[in-house]
Subunit: 244 residues, 2 copies
């Protein structure tokens, strides 16, 4: 199974300080764009892969989803999610997404935010989700963009004239990347955008929309630090559909 | 219409020295990968958008295609293509791909190699090709990769430790990029990979395969200069299908 960095105390403490941890969905600048990819979820069966604190699960509950299953590999995250959740229609379960089993044609929407780039085996998960979705059901997810993950030395550098740029190297070399993000040696998987897309198609999905996310002018006006995100996409958002 | 740099004498002379000009398809390292995306073309109706010297048209003729229409904006290219072509089943025509009109449901394969990144209006061409393809017909093309085109200052740079990398900046800023490639001020269009893919989907196409091309180990062994192409994709190859 993948590294479970979220149960590392130092990482967990750091992660808890992020806007997206404190403020939830509204603290994630890509959330408006991700929301645009979502189908109507009223009365629908939903699964959230890597649910973290359960922000999306609770949002889906408020939107009138019939049932939401939140899955995470981190017991600490699930504990926090359960504490913050009231009302019916949400279950949280511990799960390793690389060995996940799900009943057939039971789900309307599979959702995942910034979790799948931790997985080594994406083909297996996509096959599992394809069989678990009802015909016409959707998979909507975000992950770190390969432009962001490719380099072995993450961090902005400068052109000779001082213009900031992001280094891309080792793009064709897929596999593990180590970063020091709240803790030493956080393991992520770099895979080409082509690999993500071809894996979905091989599993049977139809690609519906790709968003190489960047901030809007309004977002930059409200938070000028977001401006650098226009230089290179850190994330991509993708919507795929099971035909039928 | 787009800039017709191929009729610039200096550019034309420089372009003529490229391996892909002298040796044809075998001089293009991405050709084996592009060929993998092609359907069987025997007895098929084919259009080549930006046919250049007509290398692909003649290859398709040898493969037994029923008819190939080679289109190019450059009269010089078409002249050379006609000189080099013998036998039946190929027509070369002058065309501006941005205002192209084609009969409905007449084509089995629309092919294009490294031409579409010159176009400002890709939506119109994709709509034209969609209606011109027979149901089940395919569009297979290559174009410069947005990782390659994004930066305003193309060229390798170094990390502080000397590791070579490719700069990515202004990725979200789509539109014109000027490069000095055999001539001053060659105009190309930078568009996000998401924009290419979403434009195809909006036109009705189903995405079949994406290849962010990189050289194989065998290719690097035969031509060590290709090694740097592993650091970042310069090209992408894409196959899309008209349903039916």
């Amino acid at each position: 199974m993948s590294q479970n960095i979220y149960d590392n105390a130092q990482f967990f403490a750091g992660y808890a300080t992020l806007d997206r941890s404190v403020k939830g969905l509204d603290g994630a600048p890509e959330w408006p764009a991700l929301q645009c990819l979502l189908p109507d979820i009223q009365d629908k069966q939903i699964i959230d892969l890597g649910c973290g604190y359960g922000w999306f699960c609770r949002w889906a509950q408020q939107q009138g989803a019939a049932h939401i299953l939140g899955l995470d590999v981190s017991e600490k995250m699930l504990e926090r999610a359960r504490e913050m959740t009231t009302g019916n229609g949400i279950d949280y379960q511990h799960a390793d997404l690389e060995t996940l089993k799900l009943p057939s044609e039971n789900i309307d929407l599979a959702y995942s935010s910034l979790a799948l780039h931790y997985l080594q085996n994406i083909d297996g998960l996509f096959a599992t989700l394809f069989q678990a979705l009802k015909p016409g059901g959707k998979l909507v997810f975000s992950a770190e963009h390969p432009i962001y993950t490719a380099t072995l030395k993450q961090g902005w550098i400068n052109h000779v004239d001082g213009q900031k740029c992001w280094p891309v190297d080792h793009y064709q070399q897929e596999g593990e990347r180590l970063s020091n993000w709240f803790a030493e040696g956080v393991k992520k998987q770099h895979r080409k955008l082509a690999t993500w897309i071809n894996a979905l198609i091989a599993a049977g999905f139809v690609i519906e929309q790709l968003d190489e996310w960047g901030p809007s002018d309004d977002q930059i006006a409200a938070n000028p630090a977001l401006s650098e995100e226009k230089e290179r996409p850190m994330l991509f958002l993708l919507s795929a559909r099971k035909p039928g």
